[in-house]
Symmetry: C2
Subunit: 361 residues, 2 copies
């Protein structure tokens, strides 16, 4: 068996150690005589898996007691509606649009209620962050929504750019959660689809301050009411049990990497290696994003000669470097270098890119 | 490794052959160099898995062209809201309540709009079906909702009791879908949580006639609009890819059992064996459900002497017979004997029950 270097934007690479453990335990988890997939979600075996996953996540991210951790379904796209359904309570909310995903979140929220675009960088092709003078905040907003890492445009909001605006901050962290330490107390609600840095698709993580619970109208679906899900420990109905189990294995793997500090050091080294390769290619490769907001997780780049794109993709694939094609809205290439892509994988990519540039430059 | 006989109501037993194949392919699916969990949902490998799963399901159930097959998230509980959100269109709908699950579906629909209880057997303890004279149908209803197998009460509606009432029939088949052939054309919409007879939890199957698409108001979450999901081949957003893969393996396993005709013969033999054991125990065990609507999938039974319950559970567990405790609302025991529980498992249970009755009768 030969494993590829997987640069998919999501579903994405998982740590090989996690997959090996899942494989070993697949028919019999810890002597239970059945797979995790076959366990009653209310039995003590699965409850221990769920409790351990939550405890490890709380430890990794430093999640304070006053925040609830919810393991939900439906992806970030369902959250785009679920957030205003729970939090608007007849008021308005502000959205900062810095890429395709925050734009989708804003559009979906418009179906639900009254929301405002407080700033957008669309006219700059989503390659920068808005400056303070461009942001027009409503001080009475129910919340302010941001996406701190735009998967498609490769734009990441650094922690020091996240200021307290006086209203609860709701943040889509889908594509960089767990990639580095974060101060959870800055946020009212953090959400993330699992399929980038957490586990398999079909699991959605929500971390929500208890002050934001209990505002949903009684007309929304019960499964979408955060307060009901929090009261029921994410088990109003059957949760995605196998996804929670894999996420738990990922959390344990993260602890073995030195937690989020350890992971950040590795991720910084990976990102530096790849951006240096691009920036030092003499224009053969370019990344259009402002250096102060380049993503350490999703690195889009274009070849100066787009006629070489097909050759680059075919040769990189043959070299075991998979899923490098850029999103259709941006073009070119994109390397997603999530937690589970090791430095060796990025080194293999950079070696290929340098060699390809030399042969075709 | 010693595998238990797993009588869990859900998440429930999966075919051992399916788990073995999943284990073998876990780190490398068909030479792709990665796990199914790590694949882009829009890549050709996963698309082939999804397309094959849908084709096999259509073949097994004989699903006509004019029905869409959707692979969704959120479980049957989310469908309880999603169905009226999509289908009410300002009208009313009828619900027949034959157990806990149809009662929950009715209550959830009341949050969404105007729905009526057309019949309920609650005063009979949900141990029978309503007779024709008890059912008061609205001929102008948007749909009529039934649950054809009540997991908790062990009540199954036989196919010959399902008549055309002139309005679209919406049916929760979560706990007996794929257990025997069904005439899909009788129904407007069939739905099922996966975690009983399909695959792991976190996947929800919806089979819907195209005439029922396109009635949802623009204010519901986009991911909950059946028409949008149908247009996007269940991929408006990232679907639960690993659950779909396991479901696909289950569909292939079902074809090797002789399809749903073959499965029905096995299920009938299993159910006969267990009900005969109960009925011939001289009152040591009893099942309260009318013989004409006893479930072939979920078999609740009580011991005449409830003081023996704890001993029964402890000894059965020690004998490798797991998850036999009845639901708290019914008490006693429940054996869920879904497709993946083989005749040998039911034989082992019956042998234990006969021996236990002899020793304690």
């Amino acid at each position: 068996m030969s494993r590829i270097w997987n640069f998919s934007a999501g579903p994405a690479a998982l740590p090989e150690e996690v997959l090996q453990q899942a494989q070993a335990e697949l028919l019999d988890w810890h002597g239970a005589g059945c797979s995790v997939m076959e366990m009653s979600h209310r039995g003590k075996e699965f409850m221990s898996i769920l409790d351990q996953a939550e405890a490890d996540l709380r430890e990794l991210m430093g999640i304070p007691e006053q925040y609830k951790v919810l393991f939900l379904q439906g992806g970030a796209t369902q959250q785009f509606a679920q957030i205003p359904m729970n939090l608007l309570a007849g008021r308005s909310a502000d959205y900062i649009v810095t890429g395709s995903w925050s734009k989708k979140a804003f559009k979906e929220a418009q179906r639900v209620g009254n929301v405002r675009c407080a700033a957008t960088t669309e006219s700059s092709g989503f390659t920068r962050l808005p400056v303070a003078e461009e942001i027009r905040l409503d001080p009475f907003a129910a919340y302010l929504h941001v996406c701190t890492n735009e998967t498609i445009h490769g734009v990441e909001i650094p922690a020091h750019r996240i200021a307290d605006t006086g209203v609860p901050l709701v943040v889509d962290m889908s594509s960089h959660i767990l990639s580095r330490p974060v101060n959870v107390e800055k946020f009212g609600l953090i959400y993330a689809g699992a399929q980038k840095n957490i586990g398999p698709s079909g699991l959605t993580l929500v971390i929500v301050h208890r002050d934001l619970l209990g505002m949903a109208p009684l007309t929304i679906p019960t499964v979408m009411d955060y307060a009901v899900m929090a009261e029921n420990g994410s088990m109003l109905n059957t949760p995605p049990t196998y996804g929670i189990y894999i996420a738990g294995l990922v959390f344990q793997w993260l602890k073995r990497q030195g937690g989020l500090e350890g992971m950040a050091a590795i991720n910084d080294a990976k990102a530096r290696l790849l951006y240096d390769c691009i920036d030092q290619s003499g224009g053969f490769y370019t990344n259009p994003v402002d250096p102060d907001c380049r993503s350490a997780m999703n690195v889009p780049f274009v070849l100066a000669d787009a006629e070489l794109d097909a050759k680059f993709l075919a040769e990189s694939k043959a070299a075991g470097l998979a899923s490098l094609k850029g999103h259709k809205s941006v073009g070119g290439m994109r390397a997603s270098i999530y937690n589970a892509v090791p430095l060796a994988g990025v080194q293999a990519l950079v070696d290929f890119m340098n060699d390809f540039a030399k042969r075709n430059g």
